[in-house]
Each structure stands twice: as C-alpha cells, then as structure tokens.
Symmetry: none
Subunit: 354 residues, 2 copies
Amino acid sequence: MGETSKWVTLSITLTISAASAAISVYFWSNRKQADLNDKLITIKELQKSLNQSLEKCAAERQGRIRAQQDLRKAMLQPKTDKLETTYPMAPIGVVRSCFSTRNGTPRQPLVVPLARARLMFDTALVPPASLEGLEEYSHCWIVYVFHLNTDLDKLWKDPSRSKLKAKVRVPRLKGEKMGLFATRSPHRPCPIGLTVAKVESVQGNSILLSGVDLVDGTPVLDVKPYLPYCDSIEGATVPHWVKMDDLLTVASVDFSDEFFTTLTDCWAAIGKKSLYTSPEEFQILIKQVLSWDIRSVSQRTQVEEKYEKTKNDHVDNNEVHNIIYHLNLEGLDVAYRITPNTDVFVERVSLSSK
Amino acid sequence: MGETSKWVTLSITLTISAASAAISVYFWSNRKQADLNDKLITIKELQKSLNQSLEKCAAERQGRIRAQQDLRKAMLQPKTDKLETTYPMAPIGVVRSCFSTRNGTPRQPLVVPLARARLMFDTALVPPASLEGLEEYSHCWIVYVFHLNTDLDKLWKDPSRSKLKAKVRVPRLKGEKMGLFATRSPHRPCPIGLTVAKVESVQGNSILLSGVDLVDGTPVLDVKPYLPYCDSIEGATVPHWVKMDDLLTVASVDFSDEFFTTLTDCWAAIGKKSLYTSPEEFQILIKQVLSWDIRSVSQRTQVEEKYEKTKNDHVDNNEVHNIIYHLNLEGLDVAYRITPNTDVFVERVSLSSK
C-alpha cells in the first residue's frame, strides 16, 4: 500500500474513532438527559408534594389559630363592656337546707321563721376571716344560682338558640302573662336568684341562717349584709296583680296521736346532722311549714274538682279527705292530709327513701 | 495538489470535524451535567423544604389539636353541682349612666334622685315583651358586674392563685378591718353588685331609671322587680360600725356667674344624647351630686392637713381654697372648688377630653 492508502486508512480510522466517540458521548449524554428528565420529574413531584404540604400546613395553622381564638374568647379577660363577654362565676358555697326538695320550700323568705339552712363555704375561696363581722348584722342577702332550672345548660350554649319565654303566667291575672322581668321567675337569661335570710350565727366557714326559702344544694355566688338604708325602700309600690297573699294560709295544723313517736324513732337517724336541737323543735318546723298550703296549683285544683264532684254526686268524699301528701324535711318524709277546709292533719314521719 | 493531498485534506477535515463535534458534545454534556448537578441540588433542597414543611405541619396539627382540647374543656357542660362548676353569666344589657367615671358616682342608691341611667338591653337576649309590666313597679333591683375591678381577670384564672383580701378596711373603725362579706365591697370572689333604682319608664328594650349609683358602662346580669314584702325588712339591724352617714353632706352648693353660660355652650354638643331635657335640669343634677362630698378620703385628708398647716403658719390659705376638682357627668367636665367649711363653688362646665 502506498502512502496514500496509509493516509486514507489513517483518516478513515480517525474519522470512525471520532465518530464513535461522538456517538458514545451522544448516547452517554442522552442517558444523562434521560437521567436529567427523571430528575426533572422528581423535582416536579417534589415541588407538588411540597406545595401540598405547605397548603396543608396553612390549613392546620388556620385551624390552630381559630381554635386558639375561640379558646381565648372563651377565656377572655374583658377589655370592653361589650355584651359578648361572658363572666364565669364560681360558687363560693352551697346551701345545706332543711328543705330537701322544692316541694314545701317557701316561696318567700322569712315566712317560715324556723326554716334553717347552713351556708357551707369553700374554705379555699372563703377563708373564715372573710366572714368576720357578718354575724353582727340581723339579715343578709344570698345571691344564688337557680340550679334546678331544667334549661340550665343554655348557659353553655349559643344564646341565639335559647328557648327562653319572654312572658310568664301571673297567677292573680288568671293565666294572663307578664314580661319575665316583671316577675321573680327563676327562668331568666341569667339564672341568678336573690333572697334574704336572718343571720343566726357564723361558725368557722359556715353561716347558720333562718327564715330561708332555699332548697338543699343551692349553689351560692355571694353573700351580702342587709343594709336597711340601702335595701329597705319606704313607699315602694307594686302593681295590683302582685300581692303578698299568693301564699295561702291553711285553717289549722294538727298532729296525729302517733306522730311524735314516729318522729322520735327517726330522730336517731338524723338527729346528729340535723339543724335542729330536738324533735320538739323539728315538730314546730313542720307546723310552720304546713301553715302555708304548699300544694301545687294543679294539686289544689284537682282536689277542688273532686270535692265539687263528690258534693254534687252526694257521694262520700272520704277519698278527698284521704289523699296523703308528702313533704321532705332533712331527709324525713312527713305524710299529711288536708281537708277541703284546709285543715291539716300530720300523720307520721318516716325516713325518706330518696 | 494531487489526489493524495485531497485525501489528506479531506481526512484532516473530517477528523477535525469529528473531533469538534465530540468536543462540542462533551462540553454540552458537561453543561448538562452541571445542569443535572444543579437539579440534584435543587432536589436536595426541595426534599429538605418538604421535610421541614411536613414537620411544621405536624407541629401545627399538634397545636391545633391541643387548642381544640383546651377549648372543649373550657366549654364543657357540667353535669354536677359541685363547687368546681363555673356558671358563665352573659350580661343582658349595659348601663348608660349620667356618671361617666367612678368619681362622683354615689355610693348609695337613691341619694341623688336626679341621677339617671338608661339600661340598654341586648334585644336578642331581652325581647321588649320580656320587660312588659316592669314599669308598674316603683323600684327594681339591678344585679351587675363590678367590671372596673382591676383583678377582674381572676375569674378566668386558677382560683387558688387569687389574691383576694379576706378583710377590708372599715372607715368608721379608723382603719380596722372586717371580713369582706361583712361589707358591700366590690372585691369579692364573685364580683357581683346589687343595687336598687327607681323605675321611671320602659321604652322598647330599655329602662329609664333614676336615683342610680352605677357608672356608665356597667354590665347588667339581671333586673328584678322590688317587692317590699320580700325585700324590705322591718327592724333589720346593722353593727355600730356601719352607719348611713358615711356619706358626708356639704354645707352649700353655689354656682359662679358664668357657670350657666358655659353649660349652655356645651349643651349643643350633648343635648341630643342627654338623659336630661334641659341645661336647667342638668344644673339641678350637678347641685344634687355635689351636695355630697364626693372627694376621696385621701383628697379630703390632704386638704385638711394643708389647711391645718396654713392656719398654724399664719399663711394665706388661698392655695387650699383654690384647688379645682373635677366631676364628669355625661361627658361634661364640671370644675368646682370646695372650702374647708365644705362650701362648694361650681366654676364652669367644659367638654371633657376623655
């Protein structure tokens, strides 16, 4: 082969080599490109995940902030006098009353002078020192919660969903209604009760009261001394449809022959915890409580209707005379009858099952 | 040039071309590699961001869950009447009073007969029908919140951290203290105030009252009719260290010559919103309010000391006579002087800056 062939061979070899190299590099870089594409796809996916995560983060954050705002609102220290603020009132004590149930609990303070209650205070909230001097007043106010209201849970619900009745029946208007704020009905937006009682004594972290009209277990928000020059208003007037004699007195109260025996039998069980010093004193309480017709309006009406019916039918009205009513004082069940003439006969006392 | 040269040239050209191509591809793929490296870095950063975001997400989620749990606890409906139960009381209205600040607000109801306030009710909670009949009573109770207590936030805190003082100073005992429940001090576990007022009229969802001792902005929890046979106790007694004359009357109240002009000047600004029908009526209010020495104990003591000092030093006591006191009624600043003999001179009225 001549020099020409050598050069040709050499050139062709170089060309093929170069071409091969180029092709290799090409394929290599294609793979790199594919690799790159993969990476680009990965990047796209990562970015998508990141965006989703950031969105979720933002949503959780919003949820957290909203929950914290609601919490702050629920716990908020009021800085304005806006009506949206709610004040959480924690009772300072509870009433331990001779009246175990609402039935029989007077509807007015002081009308049952021997009606006693002991206001038991939470020592953490009411150290005994804070009561010093209160016994020097003859009377005090008790600010309490109408805790037996069946709709009490409304306090924790949205006020716009309240089913509070704007008007309530007034007995003396024969079923006609008046605005609730023109009454002392327990069913009010804020179920706060106000009553007065006679201060008997202060012992440690409890106050002994008399003339109470509170049922056992009543939560107490506050106690204030009664100041006649502030609280007793001469010449204050009320509408004609409000009268004190909503309380009906009975004609007489008598006790059966075995009554006192049943009472002394029970006294062993309750004597120690009783607010009364003797069964004799307890009997006076019973007499005072039953001096008012404590039956409900419907009970009274039922009896009156039955009585009218038996009179008209000339039928023996024993049934009317023999309805036994019950009154629960200090856990003792007092059974009594009451005639249409409102003569009360107290039959017996027994330990209440409640 | 012969054929050899042509081949050589061709070969060299091809070789150079191939080499160039290879070199280009090489550099191109290098850039791609760099690109790829960049992408790899980007991927690393994205993964890092994603991890951070996921962590943050988890943290926000935890925070949200915790806040929601706390919220549920705060809103939990209580099922028992344990003392731990807290009753959230939402005000039903707010007092719009002639007394813009505590200074000057009477400490007893009814002692300033012309002191007026309008009880504005939240119509959602207190529909106008609920007030029907209230105007037929001469007086009513207002149960309110001592919203200006500086420790009001204790209601939302752990009660064991309360710094409530068990005993408070009683003025008539010259600094000696009595239990807080033997007083009507605002600083009580439940900051609930009780006062009475005369019912002037009921208009829609507001009540106009007179003889008030409430400051503007007071949140109202309840309104109850005043029932003399329940609320007015004959023969109620108080300790010797409680006396009505804690209120000190002044010797006289007079007005400067230009007083009425300054009042009529201001009347244009407040007249429309005023609880009073004329500047003349407003002047009577001022006279009634300033008939009681409304200065604080320390202000009075300061002046007494200065007066004693100037008397002893035989120095002209103009300084004592010339202290200007201020009273804010319905946003009007009433400037007055009071001599050591408690003769009051009302200088002028101006629009209050507050």
